[in-house]
Every structure is written in C-alpha cells, then in structure tokens.
C-alpha cells in the first residue's frame, strides 16, 4: 500500500468515524448520568430521516440539521419518560424506540415523497459541503505532512470539525464544571446528589437531552453530509458500534475519540477490499470485510477492554425514599 492509498483510507476513516464519535459522545452523557441508552441507533435514524426530508424541502442543510436534532430530541424525551419518570427497563425502552424509528422513518418518508421510503437526493446548499482549511492549498506540496493535511485533515464538512471539537468540550464539561461533577455523581450515587439538594430527575433529563442533541447531529450528518439523502436503515448498526466504542473507551471522552477512529478505520477497510487483499496477500471474501467491524467489536469487548467498570448506578431507576 503506497502513501496516497493510505491517505485515502485515512480520509474515509475520518468521514466514517464522525457519526460514530457523535453517537458515542451522546451515549457518554447519558450513561455517565446512569441511563443506559441502546436507542442511539433509532435516534440517529429518525434524525437522518428528518434532516433529509427538511433539507430536501427547504434546500438548507442547516434547517435539516435543526429538524434532525428535533426528531432525535423527541425520541430522547420518550426514553426519558420511560426510563426516568416511569422507572421502566432502560434496555427494553431503547429496543422499542429503535423499532419505532425503523418503521416510522420509512412510513413518513414514503407518505411525504412516495420514493420507496427514501428522501429525494440532495445537492448544493441542501448538503453540508467540504470545507478547505486555511493553508491546505499552500502546504499541499510539502512532503509527507502537506498531503496529510490536505487529504485527511482538510476537506471535510463543518460537522466533522464540530464533532471533533466536542471531544475536548465534553472533557471540560464533565471534569471541570459543576454540572459535570453532578452529572457524574448522579451516575455513581444518585442518593448523595439528592441529599445535597440537587434534582436527580432534572440532571438525568438534562443528560438525556444532550444525548438527543448529539444523536441528532450524527443523524443529520449521515443524511446531509456523508450521503445525499435518507435511505431506509441507513445507520446500519452505527448506534451499536458507538456503544461498543463507549465501553472500549471506558466512558472517557478522549479515549472515545480514539475508539471511534479505530472503528471508523475498520469500516473504511471494509470499503476497500482491494487494499486489504494487497496487504494480506490473500483473497478475502467481501462479506467477511462487511462483518469485520462487528467481529472486531466483539474481540475488543472480549479481550482488550480489561476491566471496564460502568457508572455504578447505570441502568437503575432512582427511587426517592419516602
């Protein structure tokens, strides 16, 4: 594999890691506050459909983004209602919302556009188009670093840069602000937070709402940046891979970024069977490459995680003593 091919694969890695990263950070807020969320997938899917539909109708990618966030927040609110208010099983609520999103997105897209459950193809301002970073053209001819900057770091949509900026921001919020301290406390020992006179319910709903926003951006990115429109089941398990990345990263923001880049790299490899075959010098069946991200997820969960200790109150509804 030559340097140019490597750069191509890395470029794809960044593009594919972005939705994973956004969903992974979304899950981070929720799980740090003690609410399991396997409904990341459904939230992304509903956001992708809404973003695709509204972008197609208005011709504005930003309007699509807002619509995506709105749809995802609606699902997050339902999850909060079931998991926080009515103290239901958080895993089952997530599964239910995933099915709901899977069916509703096709139903609504079909009712609106009559194109077999897709939204119309987007172009121009209805998509988030690549941005060239300052100096990318000028530095292009510098050996090694120039092409790396030009190909891999520059030339993505603005949402990609937002996603990567949210990583340090999340670290700052969680570990350097009072809100973050309380958020983490409510995932470890909600009774202590309650005793201190802070609302457990309020904090958990805030966390679930942040999850909704970030999943909304992830879904909108899928439909208006990575691809040009919504297609049925277009998230293809990314919500679950993001969850695996979250566990792999032990619920830490910067580690989450590296984990998502790793899983994004696996997905990029699955798209380039020719590269994989030239590296391993063997014919590799394409289905194996398709399954690779999932197989590696299992391997990662099984072997290299070490002791991944989830937030202690994760998955348990909080009951105030009377």
């Amino acid at each position: 594999m030559d340097y140019a091919t490597l750069l191509q694969v890395l470029d794809t890695t960044v593009r594919l890691a972005t939705p994973l990263l956004l969903a992974c950070l979304a899950g981070l807020y929720s799980e740090r506050a003690g609410i399991f969320d396997i409904g990341l997938e459904g939230k992304m899917l509903s956001a992708a459909m809404s973003a695709g539909a509204v972008a197609a109708l208005t011709g504005s990618a930003w309007a699509g983004l807002l619509a995506g966030i709105g749809a995802s927040m609606l699902f997050a609110a339902l999850h909060g209602l079931a998991a926080i208010t009515f103290r239901g099983n958080q895993l089952i609520s997530g599964v239910a919302l995933n099915f709901l999103a899977s069916g509703l997105t096709v139903l609504i897209a079909q009712a609106m556009f009559k194109q077999g459950g897709r939204t119309p193809p987007l172009s121009g301002d209805a998509r988030f188009n690549p941005v060239t970073l300052p100096g990318a053209e000028a530095l292009r001819d510098v050996p090694l670093i120039g092409p790396l900057y030009y190909e891999v770091i520059s030339g993505h949509s603005v949402l990609v840069y937002i996603a990567f900026l949210i990583v340090p921001f999340t670290w700052w919020v969680l570990f350097r602000t009072r809100f973050g301290l309380r958020l983490r406390a409510v995932g470890e020992n909600p009774a202590a937070v309650d005793t201190a006179g802070v609302s457990v319910i309020g904090l958990r709903f805030a966390a679930v709402a942040i999850t909704g926003i970030l999943c909304g951006v992830a879904g909108a990115y899928m439909a208006t940046a990575l691809q040009a429109g919504f297609g049925r089941e277009m998230t293809a398990g990314r919500g679950y891979i993001a969850l695996a990345a979250l566990i792999f990263a032990k619920w830490r923001p910067v580690a989450a970024m590296w984990a998502c880049l790793l899983f994004g790299f696996f997905q990029a490899l699955a798209l380039r069977p020719d590269v994989v075959q030239s590296v391993v010098q063997m014919k590799v069946p394409v289905p194996l490459l398709d399954a690779l991200p999932y197989i590696l997820t299992v391997l990662v969960l099984a072997g290299f995680v070490g002791k991944a200790i989830p937030p202690r109150a994760g998955g348990q509804p909080y009951v105030k003593e009377r």
Partner: protein, 367 residues
C-alpha cells in the same frame, strides 16, 4: 397505594398496554393520511377471514412461539437475548445442511434430524456471547447484537459462495429432497377438513406448542428451571445458595439460542424448502415483543404469538391491498415493546388509581 389484584395484574395490564399501542398505531395511520378502521378491516379479513388467512397467521405464530420462548428463557435468567434473529438464521443453516446431506427416506426421520441441527446451530451461535458474558463480563446485549450482524454477513457468504448450486443466479441453497418435505396442515388428517387449500402452516405448529409445554415444565418443574429463575431474580442470593453463575448463564443462553434456531424448521424446512437469504425475516426480534406481551410465561407467549401472527399476516395484506407500507408492522411491534416492556409502570399506575377510585366509592356507599 393499593396493589393491583392478581387477576388484574395478569390480564388487565397487558390488555391496557395493547390498547395504548393500538391507539397510537391508529394515530400514526391517521397522520399519514390513512384510515385506521379500513386498515383494521383489511387486516382482519386477510388474516382471520378465511382458513387460507388462518394458515398464514398460524404459520407466522409458529415462528414467533419459538423466538418468544427463546427470549423468555433468557429473561428468566436475567439475560436479555436480542440475538434471536442471528440464532434463527444460523439455525436455518443447520436445517439446510441436515436436509441436503442425505436423501431422506421419510419426513419423520428428516424432521428429527433437522430439529436437532437447528437447535444445535442456534445454540452454538448463542454460545460465544454467553461465554463472553459469563467469563469476560462483555455485555450480552451488545455482543448478541453484533452477532446478528455477523450472522447476516456469514449467511451472504455461505449462500453465495458455498451452498448455491452452480448455474443458479439467486443466492439460495438447492431445493431439499422430497423426503425432507414436511406435511402442511392441509396434508394432516383432521386439519385437512378445515384447510382445503395448501397453506404454509405445517406440522411444526404442533412442535412449537409442545415446546411451550416443555419450557413451562423446565422453568417451573425442574431443579435447573429453579436455578435459572433464582439466578435471574437475584444473582447474589443465587450464588449464596450454591448456584454457579457461569453455568446458569451459559445453559440458559444455549437453551435460548436452541429455541430461536428451532424456528427454522418452520420457515426453512416447512415453507421455503430451501435456504434463502434473511430467512427469519425479523421473527427473532418479534420474539422480544412476544415474550414481553406474554409476561414471560409460555402460555402467554403462545397467545402473544397468535396476536403477532395476526399482525404479521394482516400487515402483509396491508402492503398488498392498500398504500400503507409493510413497515407499519415494525411500528406496531415497537409500540407493543414500549408499552408492555418499558412503560408497564405507567400502565400499572393508571390502573392502580382506577382501582383505588372504585374501592373508595364502594367504601363510601357502605358507610
């Protein structure tokens, strides 16, 4: 607050949950400009209006009994097996390998062997997530989901590159030999009086009902069943009582995977008579809704499977005769899981209020 009487907890809670799901489904239909009453009429006509419709409803119900029982057994051990879909598809591979391996002399022999193959392959696919959960602490929900995707990719490979006969275009196995073809309900004396036209529901229905009894006996009449339920109720207490958590986790998942795999004798051997891509068609996921709706009891599972058989056949009729997309089935499925599984506390709170009102009204009258 007063507790609900037992009969209300067992019957009213699922019925009211179902009512909520039905109302929201109707609202969904209205919002996409369709008539809910018209849709219900098409569904009832198509699924229950004729022996032919019943033949399909029972065919789907058969699959859902298996996958519902699979989820139920895992639930009792405190495990949430979302991998029924993958286990069912790999179970289908087991059925196909058995059926294609020999020129079977009679369907009874083939059925016994294929059932064993289906259960074995399904259980094997559940074994790795089970081991990882028991020994490495990797969460079973995530691993079984990953295994669904891996199973789907594996089946693409197997059907395109291994089992596909040379010269055939579509990715599917060869047809099974005549000796491996199961009698449909219209071939069975007694049933044939009702089902005069060929229907897909077949002898597997009886096996599914028998398995419901077996699972009931296993869970409530054997030492292993007691251990599974004790482990599911409280892991700490079960450990203290000398129950080995690794053993129970693995055994419960093997049984669960085996049951999910066994659904493939219904669709692969009984209906398609060859292995097709995506053979289980989402039945593994429906098992979750069926188990929740059936309150994790085999008898409830059979009833809930019938209901979902109706929804499935009715939903297919909707896709055929109306402009409502077939995905409406998935919406209903999600709503049923939401109300019976995640919002059951809400339903219970509403009912408790109602019962308290009735009681206080009675008390006032008595005074």
């Amino acid at each position: 607050m007063d507790r609900l009487p037992r009969w209300a907890d067992l019957t009213l809670v699922p019925l009211v949950s179902l009512l909520f799901a039905a109302v929201i489904s109707a609202l969904v239909l209205l919002s996409i400009g369709q008539s809910p009453t018209e849709a219900l009429k098409v569904m009832i006509d198509g699924a229950l209006g004729s022996p032919y419709g019943w033949g399909y409803t029972l065919y789907y119900a058969t699959s859902f009994i298996f996958t519902g029982l699979a989820v139920t057994v895992a639930f009792h051990a405190g495990l949430f097996n979302i991998g029924g879909e993958g286990q069912a598809q790999i179970g289908g591979l087991g059925v196909a390998l058995v059926c294609l391996s020999l020129p079977w002399p009679h369907w009874t022999v083939a059925l016994a062997a294929a059932t064993a193959g289906a259960a074995l392959f399904g259980a094997a696919w559940a074994a790795i997530p089970a081991y990882l959960q028991a020994k490495r602490g990797s969460h079973i929900v995530i691993t079984t989901i990953m295994f669904n995707y891996i199973a789907a990719a594996l089946m693409v490979y197997v059907l395109v590159d291994v089992l596909r006969p040379t010269g055939q275009m579509d990715p599917a196995s060869a047809r099974f030999p005549v000796g491996a073809q199961l009698p449909a309900l219209n071939d069975i004396p007694g049933f044939s009086l009702i089902f005069q036209r060929p229907v897909p529901a077949n002898i597997t229905l009886l096996i599914a009902l028998a398995m419901a009894v077996v699972v009931w006996a296993l869970l409530w009449r054997t030492r292993l069943g007691y251990q599974i339920r004790a482990f599911g109720k409280s892991e700490a207490a079960a450990k203290y009582a000398g129950i080995n958590p690794v053993r129970i986790t693995i055994i419960a998942m093997l049984i669960s995977g085996g049951l999910a795999g066994m659904m493939s004798i219904n669709n692969v051997m009984g209906e398609a008579e060859r292995l097709l891509q995506n053979s289980s068609e989402g039945a593994g996921f429906i098992g979750i809704a069926v188990a929740l709706m059936g309150r994790n009891h085999p008898f409830g599972v059979v009833l809930a499977a019938l209901l979902f058989g109706f929804l499935y056949q009715g939903g297919a009729e909707l896709g055929l005769w109306t402009s409502i997309p077939i995905e409406m089935r998935i919406v209903v499925q999600g709503l049923v899981i939401l109300f019976t599984g995640a919002l059951d506390m809400m339903v219970r709170m509403i009912l408790e209020r109602l019962f308290a009102l009735v009681r206080s009204a009675k008390a006032v009258r008595a005074a």
